[in-house]
């Protein structure tokens, strides 16, 4: 007897479960969470805090806020940040001052932990929300964050 009741219960519970899937099938428009990526690139908005990659914002005079204090380089656990710096003559004071030559960022080694941005005393580096980082050659993932010819904004001291 239990053989037949098992079959009956099996079909009954199967139909109970299928009523849920059937319900979603009939009302599929209402609760759809699927996004049509990459067709929705224009409208896709990432959250403000999303960690895509590290960038260094420059203003219209091609000036950044990095003083070359190397806090980010020390804070980084993976060696993703390398700073090449030099002491150059400051035209305003006439004294020698530490300035960055190149702020090199190895995106391929970065684990997006955010410790460099926490450590920066002058907010020179921030997160960008770009997440499409695939390239054909690994060397393209090594980036120089400061633009050519840029200099530090006046009045930024660490």
């Amino acid at each position: 007897m239990s053989y037949f009741s098992d079959i009956y219960n099996g079909i009954k519970t199967l139909l109970t479960g299928m009523s849920i899937t059937g319900n979603y099938f009939l009302h599929s428009r209402k609760g759809a969470i699927t996004q049509q990526y990459p067709d929705n690139r224009e409208t896709l908005k990432m959250f403000d805090r999303f960690r895509g990659e590290v960038i260094m914002p420059h203003d219209e005079n091609n000036e950044h806020r990095c003083t070359g204090c190397q806090s980010c380089e020390i804070a980084c656990p993976n060696g993703s940040i390398e700073i090449i710096w030099d002491r150059q003559l400051d035209p305003e004071t006439g004294k020698k001052k530490k300035m960055i030559d190149k702020h090199i960022y190895h995106l391929s080694m970065c684990t997006m932990c955010g410790l460099c941005i926490e450590a920066c005393p002058t907010d020179a580096i921030v997160w960008a929300q770009n997440f499409e980082n695939s390239v054909y050659d690994r060397s393209q993932l090594t980036k120089v964050l400061n633009r050519p010819g840029s200099k530090v904004k006046a009045g930024i001291e660490d």
């Binding site: 519970t13 479960g17 959250f47 656990p77 684990t111 997006m112 932990c113 955010g114 410790l115």
Partner: protein
């Protein structure tokens, strides 16, 4: 010269042979290799072979400062990354005897419980998929997506969040956080009964799981099982209850215990835990205390000389962090006691004598995360 009868008896004789399950088997959820000794379909022995995803996180931690260790623990049990971070932070804070603000404690607890729900929904979907019900996978991931959005908005990442830092949090919660969590709780309360109707009540699923992979209470204790695996055997081992940390001492919740110890009991314990986690979040979300989100610590954290241990309850069980410090800015030795490793060690004990299909169902409810086992 062999006769025909001799050849046939030799070929059809019962004989044992080895078969590799993994490292690329879909039911092992990662790079776990199981060397099975089987006789036909009957399992004689299960030997896990580890090392495929070993990254030497413990050794790397000896190189790093205490702030930098935290982000490595994201990569151990990636489904409960926030709880792993919390374990290291609590160990460092206890060693420094820092007074942590209430706001930090409450936020940490809420996010830990959200992580637990996210981990259990993923497990539920994958568990169904392992025993042949693909639909559960999509429903589990649909509800987990809402939690991932909350994490992405507040912490900046969906999985490897690194939101904790020794002394508090990296930054304050997002203004939308409270509303989003409330929306999720309201949404999930209507969806969790659907989970039961879809899978728990299904007779085919019950036939696959009831009486399979039975773990007794004595074995659970002697193998060091923890988390839902231990609690399904009646072993009361919830760290949140017995050694409360963060804000767990100020909320009311039940420790879910079961006595059967089989695969279905482990399934039931996890589904019930999602209800408990929701109740914990509901108790805390309305009154997050005002205050600082971080205590000021030195830029270079130096622990006093000595040994420090902190355990927390992750979605899989008890995670222990053991730090030996010699007074420098790096730990002399750091050891993680991960729940997955102990839970894997009892796999051979509870699956011997069963079928290969039972092994898949049992392994699904052990909820193994391989990077947690290998580290």
């Amino acid at each position: 010269m062999e006769t025909v009868t001799e050849i046939t008896t030799r070929n059809f004789k019962s004989q044992e042979y080895f078969i590799n399950m993994g490292p690329q088997h879909p039911a092992t959820h990662g790079v776990l290799r199981l060397v099975l000794t089987i006789d036909g379909e009957i399992i004689k022995k299960v030997e896990p072979d580890l090392g495929y995803i070993h990254r030497s996180i413990e050794k790397m931690s000896e190189r790093d400062s205490y702030q930098q260790i935290v982000h490595l623990t994201d990569r151990m049990d990636y489904l409960s990354s926030h709880i792993n971070n919390e374990a290291v932070c609590l160990a460092v804070e206890n060693a420094l005897q820092l007074e942590i603000p209430d706001r930090v404690k409450v936020i940490r607890t809420i996010i830990s419980e959200l992580t637990r729900i996210a981990s259990h929904t993923l497990w539920w979907g994958v568990m169904g998929m392992d025993v042949g019900a693909l639909t559960t996978y999509f429903y589990g991931f649909r509800d987990r997506e809402m939690i991932n959005d909350i994490f992405e908005e507040t912490c900046g990442a969906r999985l490897t969040m690194n939101y904790n830092a020794p002394g508090g949090l990296m930054f304050d919660i997002h203004p939308n956080f409270v509303q989003r969590v409330k929306d999720f709780i309201a949404h999930f309360k209507t969806k969790l009964p659907e989970y039961d109707r879809l899978l728990t009540g299904n007779v085919i699923f019950q036939k696959r799981t009831k009486g399979v992979g039975i773990l007794t209470k004595e074995d659970a204790i002697s193998f060091g099982a923890s988390g839902p695996v231990g609690r399904a055997s009646g072993y009361s081992c919830d760290v949140r209850k017995h050694h409360p940390y963060s804000a767990y001492d100020r909320v009311q919740f039940n420790e879910i215990l079961d006595t059967e110890g089989d695969t279905f009991a482990r399934y039931r314990v996890r589904v019930q835990e999602m209800w408990e986690s929701m109740s914990i979040i509901e108790q805390l979300i309305d009154n997050i205390p005002e205050g600082e989100y971080k205590v000021k610590t030195n830029a270079v954290i130096k622990l006093p000389k000595g040994e420090f241990y902190q355990k927390v309850e992750t979605a899989r069980g008890e995670l222990g962090v053991y730090i030996i410090s010699t007074g420098t800015k790096n730990p002399y030795r750091i050891k993680f006691r991960s729940p997955g490793f102990s839970n894997l060690s009892l796999l051979n004990h509870i699956t011997v004598g069963g079928k290969i299909g039972d092994l898949v169902a049992t392994m699904a409810t052990l909820d193994l995360v391989i990077p947690d086992i290998d580290r």
